[in-house]
Symmetry: C2
Subunit: 67 residues, 2 copies
DNA sequence: CAGCAAAGATAAGTAAACATTTCATATTGT
DNA sequence: ACAATATGAAATGTTTACTTATCTTTGCTG
Protein backbone atom coordinates (compact mmCIF):
# COMPACT_ATOMS: atom_id res chain seq x y z
CA UNK A 1 0.00 0.00 0.00
CA UNK A 2 1.21 3.48 -0.88
CA UNK A 3 0.43 6.68 0.96
CA UNK A 4 0.71 10.43 0.59
CA UNK A 5 1.30 11.22 4.23
CA UNK A 6 4.58 13.02 3.56
CA UNK A 7 2.91 15.28 1.02
CA UNK A 8 0.02 16.15 3.31
CA UNK A 9 2.46 16.72 6.12
CA UNK A 10 4.47 19.10 3.97
CA UNK A 11 1.33 21.09 3.15
CA UNK A 12 0.85 21.73 6.85
CA UNK A 13 4.57 22.07 7.47
CA UNK A 14 4.38 19.41 10.17
CA UNK A 15 7.16 17.12 11.32
CA UNK A 16 6.53 13.41 11.84
CA UNK A 17 6.52 14.14 15.56
CA UNK A 18 3.82 16.78 15.09
CA UNK A 19 1.53 14.44 13.18
CA UNK A 20 2.22 11.51 15.48
CA UNK A 21 1.14 13.62 18.43
CA UNK A 22 -2.04 14.73 16.65
CA UNK A 23 -3.16 11.19 15.92
CA UNK A 24 -1.94 9.70 19.16
CA UNK A 25 0.88 7.37 18.19
CA UNK A 26 4.66 7.40 18.60
CA UNK A 27 6.93 9.21 16.15
CA UNK A 28 8.59 5.94 15.23
CA UNK A 29 5.23 4.31 14.70
CA UNK A 30 4.23 7.05 12.31
CA UNK A 31 7.57 6.82 10.55
CA UNK A 32 6.99 3.10 9.97
CA UNK A 33 3.55 3.78 8.55
CA UNK A 34 4.79 6.63 6.36
CA UNK A 35 7.60 4.49 4.94
CA UNK A 36 5.25 1.57 4.33
CA UNK A 37 6.70 -0.72 6.93
CA UNK A 38 3.31 -1.50 8.36
CA UNK A 39 -0.36 -1.02 7.71
CA UNK A 40 -2.18 1.35 10.07
CA UNK A 41 -5.50 0.50 11.67
CA UNK A 42 -8.64 2.06 10.26
CA UNK A 43 -8.91 4.25 13.36
CA UNK A 44 -5.51 5.78 12.64
CA UNK A 45 -6.28 6.18 8.95
CA UNK A 46 -9.53 7.98 9.78
CA UNK A 47 -7.80 10.22 12.32
CA UNK A 48 -5.13 11.14 9.81
CA UNK A 49 -7.68 11.87 7.12
CA UNK A 50 -9.51 14.05 9.64
CA UNK A 51 -6.53 16.15 10.72
CA UNK A 52 -5.55 16.63 7.08
CA UNK A 53 -9.14 17.38 6.17
CA UNK A 54 -9.13 14.77 3.42
CA UNK A 55 -10.23 11.16 2.91
CA UNK A 56 -8.66 7.81 3.66
CA UNK A 57 -8.74 7.05 -0.06
CA UNK A 58 -6.66 10.14 -0.83
CA UNK A 59 -4.12 9.30 1.86
CA UNK A 60 -3.81 5.57 1.19
CA UNK A 61 -3.84 3.70 -2.11
CA UNK A 62 -3.95 -0.06 -2.50
CA UNK A 63 -1.53 -1.35 -5.07
CA UNK A 64 -2.19 -4.13 -7.59
CA UNK A 65 -1.42 -7.06 -5.30
CA UNK A 66 -3.79 -5.75 -2.65
CA UNK A 67 -6.66 -4.49 -4.77
CA UNK B 1 -15.83 2.79 16.12
CA UNK B 2 -19.14 2.15 14.41
CA UNK B 3 -19.67 0.72 10.96
CA UNK B 4 -22.39 0.25 8.37
CA UNK B 5 -21.12 -3.03 6.97
CA UNK B 6 -24.37 -4.84 7.66
CA UNK B 7 -26.34 -2.21 5.79
CA UNK B 8 -24.05 -2.27 2.75
CA UNK B 9 -24.10 -6.04 2.82
CA UNK B 10 -27.87 -6.02 2.82
CA UNK B 11 -27.91 -3.72 -0.22
CA UNK B 12 -25.97 -6.34 -2.15
CA UNK B 13 -27.83 -9.20 -0.49
CA UNK B 14 -24.52 -10.76 0.55
CA UNK B 15 -23.93 -13.05 3.49
CA UNK B 16 -20.99 -12.49 5.84
CA UNK B 17 -19.31 -15.41 4.10
CA UNK B 18 -19.75 -13.74 0.71
CA UNK B 19 -18.20 -10.48 1.84
CA UNK B 20 -15.43 -12.22 3.74
CA UNK B 21 -14.47 -14.10 0.60
CA UNK B 22 -14.50 -10.91 -1.49
CA UNK B 23 -12.12 -9.09 0.82
CA UNK B 24 -10.00 -12.12 1.62
CA UNK B 25 -10.58 -12.78 5.30
CA UNK B 26 -12.39 -15.48 7.32
CA UNK B 27 -16.11 -15.35 7.98
CA UNK B 28 -15.52 -15.16 11.72
CA UNK B 29 -12.98 -12.39 11.22
CA UNK B 30 -15.51 -10.38 9.27
CA UNK B 31 -18.15 -11.09 11.91
CA UNK B 32 -15.83 -9.72 14.58
CA UNK B 33 -15.22 -6.58 12.54
CA UNK B 34 -18.90 -6.13 11.80
CA UNK B 35 -19.81 -6.48 15.48
CA UNK B 36 -17.06 -4.05 16.51
CA UNK B 37 -14.90 -6.58 18.30
CA UNK B 38 -11.82 -5.41 16.52
CA UNK B 39 -10.60 -2.68 14.26
CA UNK B 40 -9.75 -3.74 10.71
CA UNK B 41 -6.54 -2.75 8.97
CA UNK B 42 -6.67 0.07 6.43
CA UNK B 43 -6.16 -2.46 3.64
CA UNK B 44 -9.34 -4.30 4.62
CA UNK B 45 -11.26 -1.06 5.05
CA UNK B 46 -10.19 0.07 1.57
CA UNK B 47 -11.09 -3.29 0.05
CA UNK B 48 -14.51 -3.19 1.65
CA UNK B 49 -15.13 0.35 0.48
CA UNK B 50 -14.10 -0.75 -2.99
CA UNK B 51 -16.38 -3.79 -3.25
CA UNK B 52 -19.26 -1.71 -1.93
CA UNK B 53 -18.36 1.14 -4.26
CA UNK B 54 -18.29 3.62 -1.40
CA UNK B 55 -15.72 5.26 0.89
CA UNK B 56 -14.02 4.22 4.11
CA UNK B 57 -15.63 7.22 5.80
CA UNK B 58 -19.09 6.02 4.87
CA UNK B 59 -18.39 2.49 6.11
CA UNK B 60 -16.60 3.39 9.33
CA UNK B 61 -17.29 6.23 11.76
CA UNK B 62 -15.08 7.18 14.68
CA UNK B 63 -17.02 7.83 17.84
CA UNK B 64 -16.35 10.59 20.35
CA UNK B 65 -13.65 8.81 22.31
CA UNK B 66 -11.68 8.07 19.17
CA UNK B 67 -12.13 11.29 17.23
C1' DC C 1 -41.64 -29.90 13.74
C1' DA C 2 -37.22 -31.17 11.47
C1' DG C 3 -33.38 -29.64 9.25
C1' DC C 4 -30.37 -26.53 7.13
C1' DA C 5 -28.11 -21.91 6.35
C1' DA C 6 -26.85 -17.49 8.30
C1' DA C 7 -25.23 -15.33 12.09
C1' DG C 8 -23.22 -14.46 16.81
C1' DA C 9 -19.92 -15.78 20.16
C1' DT C 10 -15.81 -17.64 22.32
C1' DA C 11 -11.22 -19.91 22.93
C1' DA C 12 -6.54 -20.77 21.57
C1' DG C 13 -2.88 -19.84 18.63
C1' DT C 14 -0.19 -16.97 15.12
C1' DA C 15 1.16 -12.86 12.82
C1' DA C 16 1.48 -8.24 12.63
C1' DA C 17 0.74 -3.54 14.56
C1' DC C 18 2.54 -0.32 17.66
C1' DA C 19 5.61 1.32 21.77
C1' DT C 20 10.13 2.23 23.53
C1' DT C 21 14.81 2.78 23.19
C1' DT C 22 18.71 3.71 20.71
C1' DC C 23 21.72 4.98 16.98
C1' DA C 24 22.82 6.53 12.28
C1' DT C 25 21.96 9.67 8.62
C1' DA C 26 19.92 13.58 6.30
C1' DT C 27 18.40 18.35 6.22
C1' DT C 28 18.21 23.01 7.58
C1' DG C 29 19.51 27.46 9.80
C1' DT C 30 23.12 30.44 11.36
C1' DA D 1 31.22 24.13 8.44
C1' DC D 2 28.83 23.51 12.78
C1' DA D 3 24.98 22.67 15.53
C1' DA D 4 20.33 21.62 15.97
C1' DT D 5 16.49 19.40 14.26
C1' DA D 6 14.11 15.91 11.29
C1' DT D 7 14.05 11.41 9.51
C1' DG D 8 15.24 6.40 8.86
C1' DA D 9 15.87 2.24 10.84
C1' DA D 10 16.85 -1.87 14.02
C1' DA D 11 15.99 -4.69 18.40
C1' DT D 12 12.94 -6.03 21.74
C1' DG D 13 8.55 -6.40 23.96
C1' DT D 14 3.44 -5.90 24.45
C1' DT D 15 -0.99 -5.67 22.52
C1' DT D 16 -4.28 -6.71 19.16
C1' DA D 17 -5.88 -8.14 14.63
C1' DC D 18 -6.97 -12.23 12.43
C1' DT D 19 -7.35 -17.62 11.75
C1' DT D 20 -9.28 -21.96 12.70
C1' DA D 21 -12.34 -24.63 15.20
C1' DT D 22 -16.37 -25.30 17.76
C1' DC D 23 -20.85 -24.31 19.73
C1' DT D 24 -25.23 -21.85 20.09
C1' DT D 25 -29.02 -19.21 18.28
C1' DT D 26 -32.17 -17.49 14.93
C1' DG D 27 -34.90 -17.75 10.93
C1' DC D 28 -36.51 -19.94 6.96
C1' DT D 29 -38.40 -23.77 4.29
C1' DG D 30 -39.92 -28.49 3.33
Amino acid sequence: MKNTIKVERAKKNWTQADLAKHIGISRQGLNSIETGKFIPSTVLALRMAKVFDTTVEVLFQLDEAEG
